[in-house]
């Protein structure tokens, strides 16, 4: 495996909790090139030949295995688009850890756009974790525009955890999903923006089969002068259940726009959207101050808990 410097290692810890080479299948991408790759008997990772990216093929029936595909960027001015396709075999049960960390100390923008497509076989289960992290004090922006497409066959289950807590200047996250009968999608998004950051999160989930269900929940905090848009659309084309929720705290001069979108094309589609945006309640701060915390410490605890 290619040697990683300390900054790259730190980014890996932030986005993938990796302290060393992971067990199981992995591909570590560093500054546009593979810094290490390993397939296993059941999980094959091969580079694409036409565009930059990987094909990850998981054999049917693969259980309790994991795939790590973190990306780290430390060169200022690097822009890349990466296409990763996941083929998840019927009846398998795997965890996929993605994530991107950018450290930009230079004056040019660094940008990583990861296009991930998931083809989830019948009755397969996946847990997908994607963390974004930015650091470095250069003037160049850290930009991430992930696109996630999920195609779920009958009875499959996908659980996605999307986390972006710090340091990414500009992000547009687009997630599309199509669910067949009895497929289940659960999304938990946690987002914090600060400074002048912009974060846009767009979901379009089509519930096409009977018994399909989706639960998309975003918890976010917008501080300083940052801006967030949460645009979640559910389309119910069959007897299905869908729920989206945006629960947000605004601080300082932060701004948040929540756009509910529910489209029911079947009389048995049950779709719900909830949204709540507001500042931290004064009595929450006072309660923590009566425990001896300063106002600032109280705010930090409340925000940390909210995004936990």
């Amino acid at each position: 495996m290619m040697k990683l410097d300390e900054i790259q290692k730190r980014l890996l810890r932030e986005v993938a909790d990796l302290h060393e080479v992971p067990e199981g299948a992995y591909n570590i991408r560093s500054n546009g090139a593979s810094a290490g790759r390993q397939s296993t008997a059941n999980i094959e990772i091969v580079p694409k030949t036409d565009v930059s990216g990987l094909e990850i093929r998981i054999k049917p029936g693969t259980k309790r295995e994991s795939v790590h595909i973190p990306v780290v960027m430390t060169e200022s001015g690097l822009t890349e688009v990466v296409y990763n396709d996941f083929y998840i075999g019927d009846g398998s049960d795997v965890t996929i850890i993605a994530g991107c960390g950018i450290d930009n100390c230079g004056n040019q923008d660094s940008q990583h756009d990861g296009i991930h497509r998931f083809f989830v076989g019948k009755n397969a289960r996946i847990r997908y974790v994607e963390k974004h992290y930015g650091s470095g004090d250069g003037k160049g922006k850290r930009i991430l525009n992930p696109v996630t497409e999920v195609y779920q066959e009958e009875g499959s289950s996908v659980e996605m955890e999307m986390v972006q807590i710090k340091g990414v200047d500009d992000t547009t996250r687009t997630t599309k999903a199509e669910l067949a009968a009895n497929a289940k999608l659960v999304v938990r998004e946690r987002l914090m923006t600060h400074g002048q950051q912009n974060a846009i999160s767009i979901y379009e989930v089509s519930l096409n089969g009977e018994g399909a269900s989706a639960d998309v929940v975003s918890r976010s905090v917008a501080r300083d002068d940052s801006y967030q848009k949460f645009d979640a659309k559910l389309v119910g084309n069959a007897a299905c259940n869908g729920h989206t929720e945006c629960d947000s705290i605004i601080m300082d001069h932060g701004r948040i726009l929540a756009v509910p979108g529910l489209e029911a094309n079947n009389v048995d589609a049950a779709l719900v959207h909830e949204a709540a945006i507001g500042k931290i309640a004064g009595d929450q701060i006072i309660k923590l101050m009566t425990l001896g915390l300063t106002e600032q410490e109280a705010e930090e605890q409340i925000v940390n808990g909210f995004l936990k």
């Binding site: 929450q284 006072i286 101050m289 009566t290 425990l291 001896g292 409340i302 909210f306």
Partner: protein
């Protein structure tokens, strides 16, 4: 020792200045359990909030162990050893019971220690320690967790604002035991309870009756309590639930 000297507090009511607390002077010596009682709207909770620093008096002085803390923030008073249990506890999304207990203790608390605080308020610790302090908890559960966090503070002065309010299925006797237990554990500590409950009044060293923002009566329990209960002009709230049940109207 806590001393209130000529404390007044006003609120703005439809453009009019309304006096909620009128020139109150009161001393709470160390080691004393004081219960403040009186009719609703008499200024009891306001007085408790003034002591904790949540409200600031219009005039007067608050002295804590001889030091003037009138201008101190809630945080500084907490650090100086004043704890406050809210009448209506606050909910937090994402913050777990163990987090609150750790923040209250102000130090690293093991899960076993945290469980002890919960057990003392009659909660099965294992079921609650990882729960979020959010809307999934009932009012009664939340209230007991509130009391557990205050116990974890082991403060020199602990103020309870209507601790019986919202306590649902938990037997009232347990609440009394919590107060007695606190006195035994924190030697010399004082406890101030805002309450309508006769059984809480019964464990007081001193009872203060607050009415229309003024001290209407003050003295040892044995002197004040018969007056409160025996006269037709007594404060009706104090006679509620003589059997020691729970006053749900206050929840």
């Amino acid at each position: 020792m806590l001393e209130l000297k000529n404390i007044s507090f006003n609120v703005d009511q439809e453009g009019q200045d309304k006096e909620i607390i009128r020139n109150i002077s009161l001393t709470l010596p160390d080691g004393q359990l004081t219960v403040i009682t009186g009719p609703n709207g008499g200024g009891k909770s306001t007085l408790a909030r003034l002591i904790a620093g949540i409200e600031k008096p219009a005039s007067g002085q608050i002295l804590w162990n001889g030091q003037d803390i009138t201008g101190w923030s809630v945080t500084d008073r907490a650090k100086a050893g004043i704890a406050f249990a809210f009448q209506q506890p606050v909910r937090f999304k994402g913050i777990q019971v163990i987090d609150l207990i750790r923040l209250a203790a102000g130090k690293t608390v093991t899960v076993a220690d945290a469980c002890q605080y919960l057990s003392r308020v009659g909660l099965c610790a294992r079921d609650y320690i990882d729960r979020e302090v959010n809307a999934s908890l009932s009012g009664g559960e939340l209230k007991r967790i509130e009391i557990a966090t205050v116990l974890a503070r082991s403060a020199a002065l602990t103020i309870f604002d209507e601790p019986e309010a919202g306590i649902d299925l938990w037997s009232f006797q347990n609440l009394i035991e919590v107060f007695e237990d606190m006195r035994a554990r924190i030697a010399g500590s004082s406890i101030l309870i805002i309450s309508h409950q006769e059984r809480i009044l019964n464990i007081a060293d001193e009872v203060v009756v607050l009415k229309d923002g003024q001290v209407a009566a003050q003295g040892p329990k044995d002197e004040i309590l018969p007056e409160l209960i025996g006269t037709s002009s007594a404060i009706p709230e104090c006679r509620i639930n003589m059997e020691g049940g729970v006053n749900h109207d206050e929840a």
